[in-house]
Amino acid sequence: MADTLTSPAAVSAPALERSRGGGIAARLGAFGKRSLAVALLLALWEILPRAGVVDRVFLPPLSEDLAAWADLLRSGELLEHTEASVARSLTGFGLAIVVAIPLGLLIGWYKPVAEFLSPVLELFRNTSAVALLPVFTLILGIGETSKIAFVLYACAWPILLNTISGVKTVDPLLVKSARSMGLPPARLFQKVLLPAAVPAIFTGVRLAGAYSILVLLFAEIVGAKAGLGYLINAAQSSFRIQDMYAGIITISVIGLLFNQLLVHLERRFSTWRTT
């Protein structure tokens, strides 16, 4: 028995190192490298228009765009547009989660449902959401409903497809093992399929998060009375180029933060999927 107690401890040391030794220095270095590239880009944005390499009418130096951004912020205009966009994005995104996850679980779990629906799914997933925007506008008008529905539609696909594949690709041995312990189908689903599919579902959610902003911007550019897409488009057509860039900067920062948040959540829910 002495051998029993010592042998696992001996094996565990390298296993522990592998899993917990992330290397803080390496991480900092990577972060530095990434920020360096961004800093360089921003510097070019400032210098090139000033040096006259690019036309500063169409690409004003960064500092001017940031000043315009500050003005928009002070006037409250920026907040109003941001609120409108974020509300639409989150509503569509949230509804997509609520609709697509259960549907994906259902399709992944019941083979007949999957066989029946998969040709339709293939067809729709290869039809760009953007191509369908005129249809949404036609049926639901140009108000909030059509925009939220449009975001919902675009976000539903990655979540749906990832959920389906998450359920379908669960290791059959795990299912067999659980079955050998006499688990009835409902509990098998709850205790094996669902947890096994969580990482895949989160990947879908993260992708959908990015889509929710991308497609909404498109819808707002095409037709809206508020929102960052509207701001960007309106600024461009009335030749407030600095305002246009202020809008673009805002949306890219929001997109970045939202994605970081989702990546963080995804990691938290799939820590076990490291090997």
Binding site: T4, S7, A15, L173, L174, S177, M181, W272
Partner: protein
């Protein structure tokens, strides 16, 4: 229950799988007869593809035989249940659960109250020498430790029978030997009935009180050999009788392995 009743009785069991080619069904097992006694450690050897794992699935209730029947304590097996615990070669641990939560899985299925569940899971992890590793996830454990967790999981819900499908085949030689020794210890202490599949002759002789040899496909029981040692303590492998048993099994298996190889060549070619 009388002493003559077998714990597990396999009676004329056959298993045929349908294949894509409907005219050529795949016969995995044909007329298997085998009795496993209460509290016995039986090892099952046979050439690869002879249906060993299929037989274990049938005893585990994970599949139904095409013909014949399997009795457990005199009752026909109709499905899986917590009276039998299965240990797989590839561990089959739930990667999102810690070692402790993995061991507790069967107890959840058995609806044991939470507090008792944790206590029993802890106890069984200790039994396989993994005290202190309760909160580790499977990917943080070595192969040998994962298999220990899997064994603890099967022991924790206290089945009468342990069905083990080449559980140590994926481990290195040293880890395998220490796990074999521990499994014997656990078996002696708990008195479980164990059916253990292996393709290693040494392993079969070392672990089994009896060794059942299967024929090549369709699998049948060719012979059952009683393995008797005066004592199982000490270096069993150095016992001259170990060599004798080993040789008998080797001779029995040689023809079957050759036949299995021919089948394989015929199928691929």
């Amino acid at each position: 229950m009388t002493a003559t009743t077998a714990k597990i009785a396999v009676r004329g069991v056959g298993k045929v799988f349908r294949t894509r080619d409907a005219d050529r069904p795949f016969t995995a097992l044909d007329g298997v007869d085998l009795d496993v006694r209460e509290g016995e450690f039986l090892t099952l050897v046979g050439p690869s593809g002879c249906g060993k794992s299929t037989l274990l699935d049938l005893i585990g209730g994970l599949a139904a035989p095409t013909s014949g029947e399997i009795l457990l304590d005199g009752e026909p097996v109709t499905g899986p249940g917590l009276d039998r615990g299965v240990v797989f070669q590839q561990y089959a641990l739930f990667p999102w659960r810690t070692a402790l939560a993995n061991v507790a899985f069967g107890l959840e299925a058995k609806s044991v109250p939470r507090r008792e569940r944790e206590e029993r899971a802890r106890h069984h992890l200790g039994l396989v020498g993994l005290r202190g590793f309760e909160d580790r996830y499977p990917h943080e454990l070595s192969g040998g430790m994962r298999q220990r967790v899997a064994i603890a999981r099967s022991l924790a819900f206290d089945p009468d029978v342990l069905l083990m499908d080449e559980p140590f085949a994926a481990l290195d030689a040293q880890t395998r030997e220490s796990l074999q020794e521990e499994l014997l210890g656990i078996w002696e202490r708990t008195g479980k009935t164990i059916v253990f599949i292996t393709h290693g002759i040494d392993e079969a002789v070392y672990l089994g009180q009896r060794v059942a040899v299967m024929t090549s496909r369709p699998g049948r029981i060719k012979q059952v050999i009683d393995v008797e040692f005066d004592s199982r303590t000490g270096d069993l492998r150095a016992d001259p009788r170990f060599g004798e048993y080993r040789h008998r099994l080797w001779t029995l298996l040689r023809d079957e392995v050759a036949a299995a190889r021919e089948q394989e060549v015929a199928r691929v070619g």
